[in-house]
Symmetry: C2
């Protein structure tokens, strides 16, 4: 039983984690920290949190667990603020989409707390944001990645793991570098590619004609281009090295297809299309996607 | 009232057109032409068509309207077959995703019928295919583009236009070159880009790890990579010139974003992401997408 859970950043992820944990009866009191009173009072009004604070320093005293659920770009500032006042029993975790950079921040700003720091990343959420989009089932059957440090204690790791499992999540552990490579490929790259297509089309003199005739395929391909620009800017910069590797691999693939189109090489094109369709269909049929 | 409508290729598009037209009571008899008896008997069994033929030549005699609803790669062969037996009153239309190449085929293979040829493209359909996916509401509120030739008569054009409108579609006319440019940008390019991402990832040694952690954003981005490889190969080759223009514009955009990531230029990245999100949200809020 946790007496006090502090969620810094009561948005879609932080709010949903609070709601899911409340259902488990493993938490006595949930304190939300945020920059906007509007969002915090919405979280209070819907009983997502029991108390609200705009100052993280005031909130974290005596916390059993602090969850950092702010954009990656704000993570360092928060760590620096709270490090001096964290109790020696407080476990800290985060939900950032990149892990190597969050770990670097933790080593710089709260080196005395690494034993109780469990870096994490729930694979959930959508282009919606804010606590109004939060739901207690957001993590049901979703993957959560933990990337513990060599310093992280088993107790801290097991606590965070258990809490995510109680929220219905499937918990995996892997090294932070592997995490960042995997998500550069399957998440960060597609976001950049979707933003690129819409930005490219929106900049044309005939953009309104183009959008008029864009249909369902375009809509789904570009859905993630409605995501938070601030969040994805931070992710691209935080995961720069892996992003460039993925971009170069992808650009090489597109250039091979461009060559095949120019040469009229239908056999090469169809081989690529077949390989892609077969792989995607096998993936889709492998589970609920 | 049409006494005889012939649909060559009773798949998703051809079958749905037949079903929608039957509801209008504007057609007396619908004959389906196909390569596969399995598909044709399914179409017969569900009353999508009244009669089935595997030979287009036998089917088209005395037809009032012939709809060519086969992949673009098969269009020329069919035209060549039926041209000698088409009646002098038969109107011909097609549903091909590219228009300049279909028109070139018509000029080559049925030059004596151009007065009654109305090239068309309904913007509907999905990665599903076959008559079993057909529905009489597929074209409701969907755009249909007609790209008439200088030779096309007003009577033929008006007939085809009226039929599509009776199916619930919104009919537009534009030059074939403009059509091919627009759909290279908003449809053909995204298909190539989605196939490229899945093919790139499927070829990795750690592909199974990557797919294991791919989530909803990846699923929607790549949905169109489950489309028919044969159809999309034909489209890429048929619309080669416009495709290369679009690919190069897109690659330049992605390279600008790659540069910004390498330089750590968060301002430039966020400008692009903001422009894309704003454009997409404006598009989505403009109507049912």
């Amino acid at each position: 039983m946790l007496k006090k859970l502090v969620i810094v950043g009561v948005g879609l992820i932080g709010g949903s984690f609070a709601m899911a944990l409340r259902n488990t009866n493993m938490v006595e009191r949930i304190v939300g920290v945020g920059r906007s009173w509007e969002n915090l009072s919405s979280a209070l009004g819907t009983y997502v949190i029991d108390a609200a604070e705009t100052n993280a320093v005031n909130a974290v005293a005596d916390a059993d667990l602090v969850v950092l659920a702010v954009p990656v770009g704000q993570m360092g500032g928060i760590m620096q603020e709270i490090a001096p006042v964290l109790s020696s029993h407080t476990v800290i975790t985060d939900v950032g989409s990149t892990k190597q950079d969050v770990i670097e921040l933790a080593m710089r700003y709260m080196p005395e707390h690494l034993e109780r720091f469990v870096p994490g990343h729930p694979i959930a959420g959508a282009e919606r944001s804010g606590v109004k989009a939060a739901t207690d089932s957001l993590f049901q059957d979703k993957n959560v990645i933990l990337t513990p440090l060599p310093e992280t204690s088993d107790d801290a790791r097991n606590l965070v793991k258990e809490l995510w499992q109680k929220c219905g999540a499937i918990v995996h552990e892997m090294p932070p570098k592997v995490h960042d490579q995997i998500f550069a490929a399957v998440s960060h790259l597609p976001h950049v590619l979707a933003y690129a297509l819409v930005a490219d089309i929106a900049a044309r003199p005939n953009a309104s004609d183009l959008f008029q005739f864009a249909a369902g395929g375009f809509r789904d391909f570009t859905r993630i281009a409605s995501s938070s620009p601030e969040m994805w800017r931070d992710i691209c910069l935080a995961n720069r090295d892996a992003m460039v590797v993925e971009l170069d691999s992808y650009l090489a693939q597109v250039n091979r297809m461009r060559d095949a189109i120019i040469k009229g090489d239908g056999i090469a094109l169809q081989q690529i299309f077949d390989a892609a369709r077969n792989a995607r269909n096998a993936w889709i049929s492998g589970g609920s996607k």
